[in-house]
Symmetry: C2
């Protein structure tokens, strides 16, 4: 395929693998890039020196372009940015923060910058900050989501209206058909998380992957709305959060309940009871753990099939 997303990143398919905490290591990112998409290393769960190692290993594992996702809400940001620049990374996706702060610095260092947004206001902020592309992420996405709860179906047309720059869709994309739906809504590419979180090459714990592929409809819910909304897969911890919220728990009480390192405990260490399991609403559509190469092939085949079907309407 040839479009602005493919040209911007010099990739074969306009498919970006989301830079997810505890899932998106060098192994996952390089596999996606090798398969013709754009792999992203998820810096959100890495200390600067760990990130540096992942960047080096990713480069060894793939000659293709790859990027780093940096959630702007984490600590050590200056060190992380320094690692990214000094390691010669050429693509950075930023999320969960103000795009105005780091975009100029990254651009000065010849890095392509993409910012993840969930509403028009932040899309405009990102454009004003000079980003090269934006990701519009809907309510159904895993991880931290927008407070407006705008779904991908509703979000994309609004963002397309204000954004002339390349636009990626995220949230709810579990197949090539959904990818095509996003194109119909104005996207030029997709950022996919959950499918890749459950991939063979994902660094998520095997227990978490198994939990994903056995999850059912309605098993993920947006929680922690008074703190920072996050989509959680049902387990004892999520249940405790639901009950606390149902009884009107304050942000402070939620913070105590969350404690520290819960995401690591759940997604990386495989504690399915007490860990925090972040995943998108498409989780219930994922039925097997596949290799990245297979996921990419399936996505593209489904995309082409859906295109054929639409052309025949």
């Amino acid at each position: 395929m040839k479009n602005r997303i493919c040209s911007l990143f010099n990739i074969q398919y306009p498919i970006i693998q989301g830079g997810m905490i505890w899932c998106s290591s060098w192994r996952l990112a390089s596999a996606v890039s090798n398969a013709g998409g754009l792999g992203l290393i998820g810096a959100g769960s890495m200390y600067p020196d760990v990130l540096k190692m992942h960047i080096q290993k990713c480069r060894q594992a793939s000659p293709k372009p790859f990027g780093v996702n940096i959630p702007l809400l984490y600590p050590d940001l200056e060190d992380v940015m320094k690692v990214v620049v000094e390691s010669g990374v050429k693509i950075v996706f930023t999320s969960a923060g103000n795009p105005a702060i780091w975009t100029p610095y990254l651009k000065e260092n010849d890095i392509k910058v993409v910012h993840v947004i969930a509403n028009t206001k932040f899309a405009q902020k990102a454009i004003d900050a000079g980003v090269d592309a934006i990701v519009a992420e809907g309510f159904e996405a895993g991880g931290h989501n927008g407070r407006e709860e705008t779904t991908t179906m509703c979000l994309l047309p609004m963002i397309r209206k204000v954004a002339d720059i390349p636009l990626l869709a995220a949230g709810g994309i579990g197949s090539g058909a959904a990818m095509l739906a996003c194109f119909a809504l104005g996207a030029e590419g997709v950022q996919i998380g959950s499918l890749f979180a459950a991939a063979e090459e994902s660094s998520a714990h095997e227990h978490f992957k198994q939990k994903i592929i056995h999850s059912s409809e309605g098993e993920t819910m947006l929680r922690m709305k008074k703190l920072m909304p996050v989509r959680l897969l049902q387990n004892e911890f999520a249940q405790a959060v639901s009950e606390a919220e149902s009884q009107g728990a304050s942000a402070e009480e939620l913070k105590v309940l969350l404690g520290r390192a819960r995401a690591k405990k759940g997604m990386f260490e495989g504690d399915l009871s007490e860990g925090e399991l972040e995943i998108g609403q498409v989780a219930s559509q994922i039925k097997e753990i596949k290799s990245v190469s297979q996921i990419m092939k399936d996505l593209w085949r489904e995309f082409e099939e859906a295109k054929e079907k639409i052309a025949g309407l």
Copy 2:
């Protein structure tokens, strides 16, 4: 267009106007049917004799097929069903209840039955009950929504997988491009609410229509989750509900807060402060009050344009 939805209802375009309380009178339904779609009278806000009058007037206003939407949670159901059968209505959409109870009766009376669902379990129940088609309604829809909060993007592929019968999409459809996206996801037609709620021919109060077209992103939220989830447009009443829920209000407390006839007060009588205003998340995409005929023309043009664009990918 020729497809199973058009054949089932004998209509020109696979566009169904949702049977919304306080909006979907004979005037709206007949206008949609006259424009080549399928208009539905919303029985949910009508006493049986009022419904009977609307059916008669709709028939006088249009020679085309039309239907009636019956939410199965309202009282007087037996009387409503009797009116529908005796008035010779040939298409009934049921929602918010168990499809097994009334479907056989309606089918015996030579009525085509469509049931609105928000998850796979109820899709299966509807199919088992013998309905002719189902509407899969996503989280972004106005009115009463599913508890799983599954969005249209995630819901359609799952429902398509279990349903061989004709499938309509609802929730988040504010343009012909979104309609095409639903087709990519497996739908064969759409049920559109909000766009028609704000139409000239809608019986919604002018104040409510103005409020819709001036609403912003994030101004509708799913509320009353302990009672029966409903998507509310922001106003004093919705704010009071949000605050009560944030403090852990019980179902009983929400019931008291809701009181009686709030939807009528808001949507039909135009009390924008204290009334209940139900509308979909696409509300912020609606920028003007248009005639049904114009809405239908725009939808179809946008649908064709999106199809062209997709074909050129």
